[in-house]
């Protein structure tokens, strides 16, 4: 079952690439696959016994001499992250289909491939396999941004890939050392390690991927130059690979170094949280705000994880899902605004609420969830995280609470700058409201957010 969840998009990607379909048809095929994947995921969830640890395992030896195997399976949290992946990817594919991207076969194939790779990351139970999926994500992203991205895409992609690869190569080194010293690369069979260098190697990869301050040099350019749907996946889902890595590998396998470095990591996470929030507060366009806010949110999630408490870790998972949905929606909306105005810079925007109730409602709702208004799932996540990290020291929680205020400031600024005040110079009166098809992309995401807001315990209890 797990393998099917990974393989379906990958196989579909191959089919899309190889069959000489017109671009549209490829898109439709991709979308159908994605929807099937969602259904598959729902089936998996329905049959999942939370609280039983690793389930739905598939294990086949890959090569024996170093003890590497193809081993996948689901924990509760991986299931949620995988769900986030399929949902956001589906929306992204839908967006791409609607945007009618040039070279649709290539594009949709890459999106499907990306989807499969990410699901793979969230299910991998073997270190090398994890690395494989972790890196495989980069391949489509690189092309997706590099080919279909904005004017400064080339630079953005190079920075992004080299930055992340530098991190993950350190992880590869760490994997080698860890696996050989343990005698197996299986995450299930291996014990814990107290080697700080190996720990730091893993941490480096995840710190870049998340990103945690100060490893976010790639962030803004990548998010700004990507096609909106890719940015959605990138910030919504790909960054969560770091969360999975931290939970499954760093926290699980390195208890002693984690203890030793806890304060340092918390400090970096907190700095990232505040730093990202402050920069978001003055960032000049929708995407930069969302980008820096993602960084801040990842800092927050890291705070939760390294609080080393149930509250914090569960909160981090809730927040991962919440942030994934929120930021994906925001990027898709940014894309929709851009197609109408040709810009996402606040200088040219404003007053879009007038006469565009759907856009206003949708953006407002998303923004409100994004700033973690109490009662939202993002609030639930943040609350748990901060409650958890309070246990590690009240100062962390105070910083986090302060960041919540900052989040309110930058998110409101975003909402106002797009929707409110007089019409911006790039907003033409005939720029239409969201079309039904566009609504069909974002409303399900928002619906999920609202559903989870009514019942965040669905996730937080079942991690």
């Amino acid at each position: 079952m797990t393998t099917a969840l990974i393989a379906v998009p990958l196989v579909a990607a191959l089919v899309v690439w190889l069959l000489p379909l017109p671009g549209r048809a490829a898109g439709v095929l991709a979308l159908l696959t994605a929807l099937a994947e969602v259904v598959l995921w729902v089936i998996v969830v329905a049959g999942f016994d939370f609280g039983q640890g690793l389930q739905l395992q598939d294990r086949h030896s890959w090569f024996t001499d170093l003890g590497v195997s193809y081993h996948v399976g689901f924990f509760g949290y991986s299931l949620w992250l995988a769900g986030l992946t399929v949902v956001v990817s589906t929306a992204a594919i839908g967006y791409a289909l609607r945007a009618n991207r040039e070279r649709g076969r290539a594009y949709h194939g890459l999106l499907l491939f990306l989807m499969g790779a990410i699901v793979g990351v969230f299910t991998a139970q073997d270190l090398l396999l994890f690395y494989v999926f972790f890196e495989a994500m980069l391949i489509p992203i690189y092309v997706l941004i590099g080919v279909w991205g904005g004017p400064r895409r080339v630079r953005a992609t190079a920075t992004f890939v080299i930055y992340t690869m530098a991190g993950s190569l350190l992880m590869l080194a760490a994997i080698v050392v860890f696996g050989l010293s343990q005698g197996t690369f299986s995450l299930v069979d291996s014990g814990t390690s107290s080697n700080e260098w190996v720990f730091l190697g893993f941490l480096a990869a995840f710190a870049v991927k998340a990103p945690i301050f100060p490893f976010h040099g790639w962030l803004v350019d990548a998010y700004r130059e990507s096609p909106p749907e890719v940015a959605a996946i990138l910030s919504g889902v790909v960054s969560k690979a770091a969360v999975y890595g931290l939970v499954r590998i760093v926290l699980a396998k390195f208890p002693e170094p984690v203890d030793d470095f806890q304060v340092v990591i918390l400090a970096f996470a907190a700095v990232g949280l505040v730093y990202g929030s402050l920069l978001a507060f003055r960032a000049p366009d929708i995407r930069s705000v969302t980008a820096y806010s993602s960084m801040a949110q990842m800092g927050l999630i890291t705070l939760g994880l390294f609080s080393l408490t149930d509250l914090g870790v569960n909160g981090a998972i809730v927040q991962s899902v919440a942030h994934g949905l929120v930021s994906a929606t925001l990027f898709l909306l940014a894309g929709m605004v851009e197609t109408r105005t040709g810009t996402s810079a606040f200088a040219g925007l404003g007053g879009m609420a007038r006469g565009r109730p759907a856009l206003a409602t949708v953006l407002m709702t998303t923004g409100i969830v994004a700033l973690a208004v109490p009662g939202s799932v993002a609030f639930a996540g943040e609350f748990l995280i901060l409650a958890g990290v309070y246990g590690a020291g009240w100062g962390w929680a105070a910083v986090g609470a302060g960041a919540i205020v900052l989040a309110a400031m930058y998110m409101l600024r975003l909402i106002s700058a797009v929707l409110h005040r007089a019409g911006g110079s790039d907003v033409h009166d005939d720029a239409p409201d969201l079309r039904p098809l566009e609504l069909a992309l974002v409303v399900p995401l928002i619906g999920l957010l609202l559903f989870l807001s009514a019942w965040p315990a669905l996730i937080s209890e079942r991690v």
Binding site: W17, S61, W62, F63, T64, D65, L66, V68, R103, L128, Y131, V132, F133, E135, A136, L138, I139, Y142, V143, G146, V147, R153, V154, T157, A158, V161, I162, M165, A166, L169, L170, L172, A173, V176, V177, G179, L180
Partner: protein, 487 residues
């Protein structure tokens, strides 16, 4: 009455098959009328490589025990056989790639020399003493010198040939002098006999060893002995470059491993470090230098130096795992090299100009298959998932860790990170050039389809990707091959 020694024909058969093919091709290039010459000789060479590959596989199968033959002048073991298989495969693919070159002059000689070079390499990897080593080296080197310069109408080809010849001759001379010193120190030429003397403190031996390492480093183009590589790779006919990148490296590295492990076990503490340092220097120099290259062949040349660095890490590990790592690494690496140079060749033919990153622009979309293949080859060279390149690096790092050479892992990691920039540069050129740049000067419209080249690319692709998924069988082969060495 001189009784000639009993010759193990099977052990020699891959070499002989290629030699035979070379001879046939040579005759063909004289006897067959001009219109059938290319087809005949190419087929002969192809058949020779395939036969050699098959024979080498048989040798592999039947050589569970390593044996020294004819006064220990050569070895029948799985290491040599596996290397011969890879070399034969590379050669066969090269024949496919070169078919479309439509060589007007010396087509027959080209294939004859290719087969001869292949034969030399297949023999070289089994060499059992310093003399056969030197001779085997010269055998394929001289063939390659000629192949490099074969496009005599092109100045760069001649320049490449001369540079290769002279620098190569210099390297051989160093190797030879080193051999002489080792011989002087031990009185023996055979690898195992040298080891048996076991005179660890003998300075003559050490000086000889240093020179041997230099000579072999030259052939595997390890920095700082690599400087000829970019020039020669750029100047040589592209199919030859591919063959050199893939096959020569196999030959040189396998023999480096063999001689160091077999002949110098007592000097291990010296040569492991020396090789490790060479690996490091190779990684650093090649990856940095490649950053600013615009010519794709040159870029790939630096890339091959970089890979030599990685493989030397495996050699430096001086362990069974290291041997396995080296042999495994060679498989995807060989496929990537042949494939990448094949794509470059295809582009070269349609542009009739040297391929640079600029005129690669948009190729990914115009030639979807070749573009996608090049993409995969670059991923393979980077060591990205879904290609054996990743697992090659993984094995190499594992070997380094096991040998306690953790700093080599760090070096490898940094080098890989740097290398991304230029590999991605190729992908960028293939796919991401803005529309304005998508106007390469095509000569005479779309070139004829070249199914042979494409099949070569396809096979390379299959090997590159397949070596990722089917690791176990390949690793078993590598294990058996490396198992014959006395680690």
């Amino acid at each position: 009455m001189i009784t000639t020694p009993k010759v193990d024909w099977l052990a020699l058969s891959p070499t002989l098959a290629l030699l035979g093919a070379s001879g046939v091709a040579l005759l063909g290039s004289v006897l067959v009328p001009w219109w059938g010459r290319r087809a005949f000789t190419a087929f002969a060479a192809f058949a020779g490589f395939v036969t050699a590959g098959v024979l080498a596989a048989i040798v592999f199968d039947r050589s569970a025990e390593s044996r020294l033959l004819i006064a220990e002048s050569f070895t029948r073991d799985r290491l040599g056989a596996l290397a011969a298989i890879i070399i034969a495969g590379a050669g066969a693919l090269t024949v496919l790639v070169s078919w479309g070159e439509n060589r007007r002059d010396h087509a027959g000689e080209y294939y004859a020399l290719l087969a001869a070079a292949g034969a030399g390499m297949a023999f070289f990897v089994t060499a059992g003493n310093l003399m056969t080593l030197f001779l085997g080296l010269e055998w394929f080197s001289i063939a390659l010198y000629i192949l490099c310069a074969l496009d005599t109408h092109r100045e760069t080809s001649l320049e490449a040939g001369l540079k290769y010849l002279i620098v190569g001759g210099f390297g051989s001379a160093v190797l030879l002098f080193g051999s002489a010193l080792v011989y002087g120190a031990t009185g023996e030429l055979g690898f195992s006999q040298i080891a048996a003397v076991g005179d660890t403190e003998n300075v003559l031996l050490l000086a000889g060893l240093a020179m041997l390492i230099a000579g072999l480093g030259f052939k595997s183009s390890a920095a700082p002995f690599h400087m000829w590589t970019p020039d020669v790779y750029e100047g040589a006919p592209t199919s030859v470059t591919g063959f050199m990148a893939a096959a020569t490296k196999v030959a040189a590295l396998v023999l480096t491993l063999r001689i160091l492990v077999v002949a110098f076990p007592d000097q291990e503490h010296l040569w492991t470090i020396a090789i490790a340092v060479l690996a490091c220097v190779s990684l650093a120099v090649s990856n940095l230098a490649a950053l600013v290259q615009r010519n794709v062949k040159r870029l790939l040349a630096y890339s091959s130096v970089s890979h030599a660095g990685f493989m030397l890490i495996a050699v430096a590990a001086n362990s069974a795992l290291g041997g396995r790592a080296l042999l495994y690494y060679l498989i995807p690496y060989g496929a990537v090299s042949i494939g990448a140079f094949a794509v470059v060749a295809a582009r070269e033919r349609e542009l009739a100009a040297p391929v640079t990153l600029d005129n690669l622009g948009g190729m990914g979309w115009e030639r979807p298959f070749l573009g996608a293949a090049m993409w995969v080859f670059m991923l393979g060279a980077m060591g990205m998932p879904l290609t054996g390149g990743l697992l090659g690096k993984f094995y190499v790092f594992s070997a380094a860790y096991e040998a306690g050479l953790w700093w080599l892992i760090v070096a490898g990691v940094i080098a890989t990170a740097i290398s991304l920039y230029y590999y991605l540069g190729v992908i960028r050129a293939l796919y991401m050039r803005p529309a304005a740049e998508l106007k390469p000067a095509l000569v005479g419209g779309s070139p004829p389809r070249d199914p042979l080249l494409q099949s070569a690319v396809f096979i390379s692709l299959v090997v590159t990707v397949g070596s990722f998924f089917f690791v176990q069988p390949l690793i078993d082969l590598a294990r058996d091959a490396a198992g014959g060495l006395p680690f």
